[in-house]
């Protein structure tokens, strides 16, 4: 087990390095620089800015310097918001996005699985059609349209919820809902698709023959087998939701992490781009690692296979 963890973390570090390297050279290949804005900057000031942030050095030297800093856990200083460190930015914005994302996941996972299971159990009946219509609306309304619509109806017309910002529980309701819609729909579709298949298996027929109620069979025998694709899907999506959505945060004026990625790319804020990428990809790789573990926990056949391979047969 320790060997396994060691190998995994080695691979994680290696992938992280590839991501950082790729992103580093990619972003420097794009024309533009962080200091070009509305105002004209005198050449001398520009030169000293370049010198201060090390942009006058050759690219490979900048790269080595960045890696060195990263190795010591230093993500650097923003070039656009002079003097604020990238770590500070993330520390401030991430908890907000994570809170919102977590509540969206708490809505999306159970309701998606519930809709999908019902649809599969009552295949081609009205329950199925209703669940699929709900999930279609969730998919075909992009979250920014849904968010604007919700804001319009509930905030401006009905005055049920506050319009924007994130200050209380009531503020969080609409953004959570808007954020949860797409994953709910996706999970429902995947669950239904698999559940339909699982419910045809012999062991389900056996359970039915024993006289167990269909609901219990679906829950105990079906779901565990039908849920693997959902978990695959959840790994990357959970990371994305927890690190914030640009559109939702923009519409509801929430100071989360989602908008910073877009802003920093537009502003060519190199340390910010890299820092956010490192943060996001670390999260992603950890999520994928957890997915792998969940896989072998949920499906013993996959675990046996791994063991067999480990023994060299």
């Amino acid at each position: 087990m320790i060997q396994f963890l060691f190998n995994k973390s080695l691979i994680l570090l290696l992938s992280l390095w590839v991501v950082v390297t790729g992103t580093f050279f990619l972003m420097h290949a794009i024309p533009g620089d962080p200091f070009i804005g509305d105002r004209v900057i005198p050449e001398e000031v520009m030169r000293s800015l370049y010198a201060y942030y090390g942009l006058d050095q050759p690219l490979w030297l900048q790269y080595i310097k960045y890696l060195k800093g990263l190795f010591h856990g230093d993500l650097g200083i923003s070039m656009v918001y002079h003097g604020r460190s990238v770590g500070h930015f993330i520390g401030e914005a991430f908890p907000i996005s994570a809170l919102l994302g977590l509540s969206a996941l708490c809505v999306a996972i159970p309701s998606g699985i519930f809709l999908g299971t019902i649809a599969a159990m009552k295949r081609n009946r009205w329950h199925d059609t209703a669940a699929m219509i709900i999930s279609t609306i969730g998919i075909s309304d992009p979250n920014f349209v849904l968010a604007s619509f919700l804001q319009y109806v509930f905030c401006m017309k009905l005055h049920v919820f506050p319009v924007a910002r994130l200050e209380s529980l009531a503020h969080g309701v609409l953004p959570t809902f808007a954020l949860a819609a797409l994953p709910t729909a996706f999970i429902a579709r995947l669950t239904r698709s698999n559940m339909v298949e699982v419910l045809q298996q012999d062991y389900i027929r056996t359970a039915l023959a024993k006289g167990l109620p269909l609901f219990r069979i679906a829950l105990h025998h079906g779901l565990r087998n039908a849920i693997l694709p959902v978990i695959t899907y959840l790994g990357p999506v959970a990371t994305q939701i927890l690190t914030g959505s640009f559109m939702i945060e923009r519409i509801f004026a929430i100071p989360g992490l989602g908008q910073w990625m877009i802003h920093s790319i537009h502003g060519r804020d190199y340390p910010m781009i890299l820092g956010l990428t490192v943060f996001f990809s670390t999260g992603l790789m950890i999520a994928m690692f957890l997915v792998d573990i969940a896989y072998s926990l949920l499906d013993p056949r996959i675990r046996i296979q791994k063991k067999r391979e480990a023994h060299g047969t």
């Binding site: 349209v145 579709r189 698709s193 990357p236 296979q305």
Partner: protein, 284 residues
């Protein structure tokens, strides 16, 4: 496959056509596709004609679906948008499916170190900020539909690869696969005859979901100024424009989003039924 199971496709069609919502979906999609091709012919306006004196006209005999803030005819623009959006959505979904199925099934079947490496490549591609790639591509190739499509598919297939791999990891442990292997079937044969056909359900489900995702990724890119350039407009762009006018000129949001929802609903119903119809075990 056909001569070994006489009537497989006929059987699938019979099951498909007995499902009324699916037939409705099929006709709806056919109608939308036909309108995308011939729709602009019915209108006396072009999608870029500006009539400033008629801006924001409600739907009526002059503009069937109303007009936008520059007095452009929404009816014509919707069908032009259909061409762009449907093309982007379907092309992206097909490309994603091909790459995803190949990558995912090879990884799952190979197992071991190759599998590990292939999946880490996915993680790495997924982690590199996607917008950087799009901007770089736009700088190199200029903006246009091809650029958008390339940019979208370079990371789009990953999701499909993951789903396919997950499915095949599970299926390849089933007894019939082991039996086929004992009978000396080659990897390629096992993959084509046993693994992919049995994973087709989630694959189809994921493909039908990629279409709207692609249409909206394009809208998002357009929102950032990287997508389809004016005066051409995709559905995503029109929905986006309509949002800002929602309070006073609701038809500008209503028509494009209604078309979009209708298309998506049809794709979903079609995907669901197709998935059930193609699986012979699902007779009930």
């Amino acid at each position: 496959m056909e001569h070994e199971f006489p009537g497989f496709w006929r059987d699938a069609w019979r099951r498909f056509s007995s499902n009324r919502p699916a037939l409705f979906a099929l006709w709806t999609l056919a109608a939308i596709a036909a309108m995308a091709i011939f729709g602009p012919l019915f209108s006396s306006y072009s999608y870029y004609d500006i009539h400033l004196e008629w801006h924001d006209t409600p739907p009526g005999p002059k503009f069937w679906f109303g007009s936008d803030e520059l007095g452009r005819d929404l009816f014509t623009r919707i069908w032009w948008g259909a061409r762009i959006s449907l093309f982007i959505g379907i092309a992206a979904a097909v490309i994603d499916m091909i790459f995803g199925v190949i990558w995912g099934s090879v990884a799952a079947l190979a197992g071991g170190r190759l599998d590990e490496t292939m999946m880490r490549v996915c993680d790495i591609l997924y982690a590199i900020p996607y917008l950087l790639v799009v901007i770089l591509l736009t700088v190199i190739r200029g903006s246009g539909i091809a650029t958008i499509l390339i940019a979208m598919t370079c990371t789009g297939w990953i999701n499909m690869a993951r789903i396919v791999r997950g499915q095949i990891l599970q299926i390849k442990e089933y007894d019939y696969v082991v039996a086929a292997r004992l009978n000396g079937a080659s990897n390629a044969r096992i993959l084509m005859r046993h693994l992919i056909p049995n994973a087709i359900g989630p694959i189809i489900a994921a493909v039908t979901l990629t279409v709207p995702t692609a249409i909206f990724t394009e809208a998002f890119l357009s929102f950032l100024g990287l997508g389809v350039q004016a005066p051409a407009a995709s559905w995503g762009v029109m929905v986006n424009d309509g949002l800002s006018a929602m309070r006073y000129y609701p038809w500008r949001l209503l028509f494009p989003s209604a078309m979009l929802t209708l298309t998506m609903l049809s794709f979903n119903l079609l995907g669901n039924t197709l998935r059930d119809a193609l699986d012979p075990r699902l007779r009930r």
